[in-house]
């Protein structure tokens, strides 16, 4: 049976990995290539790289790093951040990315999902959504979680899948950085409306949170986290072993 995936996420700015708490207070962690290799060796099933650089120099540095990672680490790589056009897809796919994650770019131009899915296949297009509770509904936030679009997250995700998104990353702003566990309620609402893989993001603080995630919501395919892996609070190897002990199908290395 297919295994539950564990995915470390690396936010990269100016060639370095950073991680914020509630998207603020960026702090430098490590060299992205070294960190990627370490994660791959300890059993990460996939890696996500977010380019949070604004400058052209930073962008070039990012694609250099991506190329280096893709030529030495042979697990699926997803790239996001600053993906606004099909040309952006092309740029990162040529550097070895397997999937491309769209967020604000798709909010501005939902057609981007269709165009990219048509050209590269649904499996290549990941719709990443930052969502937060607002007045009893889930709202989509743009620009790294800073701007409330007023859009209903469940509707947005449903329409994104209809347009060809092959996978959903749901990042709950309410639980992100708080380390009290994934947002099971929000995830359940998303899983109820889509048939594509759903990746849970935001809130993991310990191994038990991943066990709770997969036991409570077996429809969720993967758990994504950043800081707990970067700071060594959770070792991926231990996490995988604990999943297996709890009868959750995991790839052990």
């Amino acid at each position: 049976m297919i295994t539950k995936r564990i995915i470390p996420c690396l936010d990269v700015r100016d060639g370095r990995v950073v991680k914020g708490t509630n998207f603020l207070g960026l702090r430098d962690v490590s060299n992205p290539v070294d960190l990627a290799r370490l994660y791959s060796e300890s059993g990460a099933d996939e890696l996500v790289f977010y380019d949070i650089t604004a400058s052209a120099e930073g962008r070039a540095l990012f694609t250099d790093i991506l190329r280096e990672v893709a030529s030495t680490i042979f697990i699926p790589l997803t790239v996001g951040g600053g993906i606004n056009t099909v040309e952006d897809f092309d740029r990162v796919l040529k550097c070895g990315a397997d999937k491309v994650s769209v967020n604000s770019g798709a909010i501005r131009n939902p057609q981007l999902i269709e165009e990219a899915a048509h050209r590269y296949g649904d499996q290549c297009v990941v719709l990443s959504v930052d969502a937060k509770r607002v007045a009893g509904r889930y709202h989509v936030f743009a620009k790294g979680g800073r701007e409330d679009t007023g859009m209903d997250a469940i509707e947005w995700i449903r329409s994104g899948v209809a347009r060809g998104a092959g996978e959903i990353v749901l990042n709950s702003i309410d639980t992100d950085g708080v380390k009290q566990g994934f947002d099971l309620e929000m995830l359940a609402a998303v899983c109820a409306v889509v048939q594509v893989p759903v990746i849970a993001s935001g809130g993991a603080g310990c191994i038990q949170h991943f066990i709770d995630l997969f036991q409570t919501l077996p429809q969720v395919d993967a758990g994504l986290a950043a800081s707990i892996f970067h700071y060594g609070e959770v070792e991926i190897r231990d996490l995988k072993q604990q999943l297996a002990k709890n009868d959750i199908v995991a790839r052990l290395v």
């Binding site: 099933d45 042979f74 697990i75 397997d98 395919d221």
Partner: protein
Amino acid sequence: MIAIIDYGVGNLFSLRSSFAMIGEDVLVSGDAERIRSAERIILPGVGAFEDAAAKLRQTNLDAAVLEAAAAGKPILGICLGMQLLFEKSYEYGEHQGLALLKGSVVDMRKAIPADLKVPHIGWNALHLKRPHPLFRYIQEGDCVYFVHSYYATDCDQSVIATAEYGAELTAAVAAGNVMGCQFHPEKSGPVGLNILRAFCEI
């Protein structure tokens, strides 16, 4: 030397890099003459069967693959490249493949329970059906990375490994010098590299 056939389908960056990683000389080419000089052939592919089969024919590289097969050179089809080795595919219609292997490629939705997601995407365990040189460096139960919605069926004796996903899906095939894997060895970590390494020794 290994030739990776470049017929304009998919991204060959990782495949090229993975052979470099295991220290093998690799040529990525769409030139039949240069492919002819290779000792081993990789037929990659992602996307839709009809489109890929048409591109392979338009570039006349189908002839290069058939010629290499007839000459007894080891050939490895990967993902859609494996599916192209079969007689036909029923992906959006009915399309002819290279017919180097017996069998056809069909929608997995007809074989698996409706509640399972399609495509079959992620890491799944290989069940080795019989010993094969491709498996020299791997073990029963090792996980590899899959992304596909169609699978090969009625493969006669060629199935050498399967993966369980609501049904037993064909994961690797071999008949003489013609081999294929439905999964992506270039995305399957050390297990995948070990399969490519074994292929280079066949």
